[in-house]
């Protein structure tokens, strides 16, 4: 009898040890990295069967590639890549003819119009002529002369963009106008990928499209996903950690794509109304259900006054914002209280009462 008890206890010990590592009931993890949309896209999913996970992730990547192909703005006119890209075709027909496009492009442009309206033109999908002028990412990025910038401003404006949802076509009023979906396509693609994963039965997963994050369910430890926000001024550091569940977080910052000239930093988020880099914030993170909307809002809020950005977000259901102003003040919406862990160092100001 006694020995049975002791054997029982020993076995229990072993089982407890195994449970601790989760090796008995653990879900399998499948992770994959792919270079796509001018960035690195990582997808991590959890489930019971690896073959199913692999298939789901493959389908998600295919969908993202499809979105990338139809929204690419860079191919030269006349090339095959341009014929596949709805955006390239719309730009080529600017001032001439409406162009029939995929329904996904209509969806992206409708989201862009929302961003345009709520930011009073601070976000604009027709910013193409200005991004081309500044040439970020290319070898010859230079500060353009103010005359050149002024010359481009009349070719920018979503009031000159016509979207016909019924006919599924798009028209730009003037020759020289150019759509640029650079601040929506990655978020939108991540959202589509999440939908594909969910359709394949995935209940836990994370899509990281170059820092645009979309999570499904909770993380592998059944806790909310822990998403760090990069410190905008210190390399190798986080400014805060967010807890997310079934939503997305997208950041716009002045520290990633930029060049230096005349002792100044010229970053890639251009205010479509002035033609110059926006200078009110240095980092803006938006948390929203839809990753496409989060992508647009992070750019829109980056260009806006911080107080106005917070106020606008407070008025939107399911939208939160965390931002660092150019005076290094940290601000966020009330809704983030309780799911935000601040990591910021002394160089930032933060008033928790706000």
């Amino acid at each position: 009898m006694k020995k049975l008890v002791i054997i029982g206890i020993s076995l229990l010990l072993l089982v407890v040890a195994l449970l601790k590592t989760g090796s008995i009931f653990a879900l399998k993890e499948y992770k994959s990295d792919r270079f796509m949309m001018d960035t690195l896209i990582t997808i991590k999913v959890y489930g019971k069967e690896e073959t199913k996970l692999r298939k789901a992730v493959e389908e998600a990547y295919n969908e993202m590639q499809r979105i990338a192909d139809m929204s690419d703005r860079f191919p030269e006119e006349g090339t095959t890549a341009c014929k596949t890209s709805d955006i390239c075709r719309i730009n080529a027909q600017a001032g001439k003819n409406p162009v029939k496009v995929h329904k996904e492009v209509i969806e992206m442009l409708m989201l862009c119009m929302k961003g345009y309206k709520l930011s009073k033109g601070g976000f604009d999908a027709t910013i193409g002529p200005l991004t081309m002028l500044w040439g970020f990412g290319s070898e010859d990025a230079v500060v353009p002369s103010s005359d050149k910038v002024k010359l481009k401003l009349p070719d920018v404006g979503s009031n000159l963009l016509h979207i016909d949802e019924k006919k599924q076509d798009v028209f730009l009023d003037k020759v020289g106008m150019k759509l640029d979906l650079g601040s929506v396509a990655k978020g939108y693609a991540a959202e589509r990928a999440a939908q594909i994963l969910q359709k394949n039965g995935i209940k836990k997963g994370l899509i990281d499209a170059g820092g645009n994050i979309r999570v499904i369910g909770s993380n592998s430890q059944n806790r909310p996903w822990q998403i760090g926000i990069k410190d905008p001024r210190k390399k190798d550091a986080l400014i805060a950690i967010l807890s997310l569940k079934d939503e997305s977080a997208v950041t716009s910052g002045d520290y990633y794509r930029y060049f230096e000239a005349d002792g100044k930093r010229w970053h890639h988020i251009i205010d479509p109304r002035t033609g110059y880099p926006a200078n009110k914030n240095i980092s803006v993170t938006v948390i929203a259900k839809d990753a496409g909307m989060a992508d647009i809002l992070s750019t829109a809020f980056f260009v806006m006054n911080p107080e106005e950005a917070i106020k606008t977000a407070e008025g939107m259901a399911g939208v939160e914002v965390f931002l660092v102003t150019s005076n290094k003040k940290i601000m966020h919406t009330d809704g983030l209280k309780g799911r935000l862990e601040l990591k910021a160092g002394g160089e930032y100001h933060y008033d928790p009462g706000r």
Binding site: K3, I7, S10, K20, F35, L40, G211, I227, G228
Partner: protein, 126 residues
């Protein structure tokens, strides 16, 4: 209870304890010996593994990216891209990384450098 029974019981107790110890300690082994493994991959395929340790001297080495040679430098437990053939040089600008879960991405080279291990966060928005 015979002597055989007692021996059996002691044997089971000891083996359970050893198994438990192994399982609990396994994730910390690398940290105990203060080393980190770095995986370098190009176009999704692993091309090199490097071990980082406080004790090792710094060194530089080249790896082949999609558009040419990329020079990688290690120093103690840190690693960075020192030179790359891309125009935007974003990978060089990312500087040193030193913590598990961190990575450096080089787009034009399709190169990814990741420090293995558990990060305190699941991902970073930037």
């Amino acid at each position: 209870m015979t002597l055989g029974d007692r021996l059996l019981i002691v044997a089971i107790l000891i083996s359970s304890a050893i198994a438990a110890l192994f399982i609990y300690l396994k994730p910390f082994n690398k940290e105990l010996i203060n080393e980190q493994t770095v995986i370098i991959s190009c176009k999704g395929a692993v091309i090199k593994k490097v071990t980082l340790s406080e004790k090792r001297h710094g060194k530089t080495f080249n790896v082949m990216g999609r558009i040419g040679l990329v020079t990688v430098e290690t120093l103690g437990k840190q690693i960075r891209i020192q030179e790359a053939p891309c125009h935007d040089r974003l990978c060089i600008r990312q500087g040193w990384i030193s913590r598990p879960g961190q990575s450096i991405v080089c787009m034009p080279s399709e190169l990814l450098i990741t420090i293995e291990g558990n990060s305190p966060v699941d991902a970073v928005t930037r």
